[in-house]
């Protein structure tokens, strides 16, 4: 049952060293504030799971928090490569990073299977693809009706799922609108879940009946963090801060500059700072 608490309390209660955790968001609604809180709390030995690890995972990997990464596309969206991730994979800095690499279809299906309580996802994929040769978690099943060989991957069931959403109501139900990505699935697939929201409203009385709503009893903790997706965006609240994504490319290119930036902007910062960061951004419809 969803409990409202501070972001610091939420991450402390739900995330432990050694856990597998998915901070999900598909360009939209990326939970930056929650990731920064995890960084401040110095969590370590994490297995990071995400379809599109971008800036926040670059930051966590650069801080040496990750033992393993499960992913399908590791890029800075609209910009290019992730330089901290590359440094970890190519040079083992600041520590060696194990990777388990999939395709988007596999990851999306694996979250769907996790939400569905299944041990595996079955789909038509990886035909002729090199990943099937290097990832032992890509197997197959044969259709007993047609004989077709289909791909199978293990369901994703993270210890913790973390997402950012537009709003919660007072009862703790959470509403996600626009590009909803795999956010519903990651919360349902995870053993525990944290949702940061832009605001709390009295109720969702006027919401569309088929909108993406997570009932309160599917969520562990809710923290109100206005601007908590910055520099990602929250439809209806603020637009994407594109210059910040571009700036990251330069910051992450150098180990010292990275460390200094993290010290100032993450370690010495607070969840409340996110509201200021989006104050000047265009409000999106």
């Amino acid at each position: 049952m969803a409990r409202f608490m501070t972001l610091a309390e939420a991450m402390k209660e739900t995330l432990s060293d050694g856990d597998s955790v998915a901070f999900e968001g598909f360009t939209h609604l990326i939970p930056h504030a929650a990731a920064h809180e995890a960084i401040r709390q110095g969590k370590t030995d994490l297995t990071l799971i995400r379809m599109t690890p971008d800036v926040i995972y670059d930051q966590m990997i650069g801080m040496g928090m990750a033992r393993r990464l499960v992913f399908s596309y590791a890029g800075n969206p609209g910009v290019g490569l992730l330089r901290r991730l590359r440094d970890a994979v190519e040079n083992g800095w600041p520590r060696k990073l194990e990777i388990e690499e999939h395709s988007h279809a596999a990851m999306a299906n694996a979250y769907e299977a996790g939400a569905s309580g299944l041990p595996m996802a079955v789909f038509r994929g990886y035909k002729g693809a090199g990943l099937a040769k290097v990832n032992p978690n890509i197997k197959s099943v044969t259709c007993p009706f047609t004989g077709e060989v289909l791909a199978a991957v293990p369901a994703l069931r993270p210890d913790l799922g973390v997402i950012h959403a537009q709003k919660a109501n007072r009862q703790g139900d959470v509403l996600i609108e626009g590009i909803v990505g795999v956010q519903k699935e990651v919360v349902l697939a995870a053993k525990r879940s944290v949702v940061t929201v832009e605001e709390v409203v009295e109720d969702f009385a006027d919401v569309h009946p088929n909108a993406c709503v997570l009932p309160r009893w599917t969520i562990s903790a809710i923290a109100v963090v206005p601007g908590g997706a910055h520099p990602s965006y929250a439809q209806g609240y603020y637009g994407r801060d594109n210059p910040s994504y571009l700036e990251w490319d330069g910051i992450a290119a150098d180990r010292d500059r990275f460390r200094a930036w993290m010290e100032t902007n993450v370690l010495q910062a607070k969840p409340e700072d996110f509201a200021d960061r989006v104050a000047m951004l265009e409000k999106r419809p």
Binding site: P77, A108, F123, K127, G130, L131, G178, I179, G181, V182
Partner: protein
Amino acid sequence: MTTPSFSRDEMMTIAAARALGNDDVCFVGIGAPSAACNVARLTHAPNITLIYESGTIGTAPSVLPLSIGDGELCETAVTTVSVPEMFRYWLQGGRVTIGFLGAAQLDRFGNINTTVIGDYDTPTVRLPGGGGAPEIASSCGRIFITMKQSRRGMVETIDFVTSFGHGTGQGDRRALGLDTRGPTLLITDLAIWKSDPETGEFVVSSLHPGATRQAVVETCGWTARFADAVEDTPAPSELELTTLRDLKARTAKAHGASGGSDS
């Protein structure tokens, strides 16, 4: 040397746009030329359906997105679905006629690498990875590839098969149980290449204005083959060029000077 009234990049984008039709359902993956897709939509193919893997179906952005999940894509879409649904019902469901892919490395059979340069376990360069590409390559009716020509990109042998094209030649797809056509078109900044129905190899079928056979050969890491009758790609029309430039200008204005990246 004359100064052309359009750049090679513009020619590449416009040539790709021309390959798209009104009835196409086009999957615009990461790194793919959403500029081409949107120029097609704004010129000869107003009813083309553009799908971005973030879940937006039938989207019609007025500016080019910086990422595949920009808010504008959702705001202008016919509907926005979850990412699992996107990959299950829409891509795997066989509803997409054309998948657009880019490549860090490409071979003559349309096999693509966007995963690693060097060995997978000890890479020289760790690239972003495949994202949707492995299943885009197998599930879409046809695959169009766009990239600038270079010997580093168009290689004899790719380091990693991120997405499967024609393998080592025609017949390999069918052997894997694939009944989609795979890569049929390669559009570069110099030429249009088509897949040879017999061998599965890309063959130059048309040269862009100002591009020479020699330029194509020199910027291609495999031995380039030319069709018996190589055509001349028509230069961009006034409408095409204006549409593309207006789109880029709107994009730059909306996103700031840095705007307009296709990925």
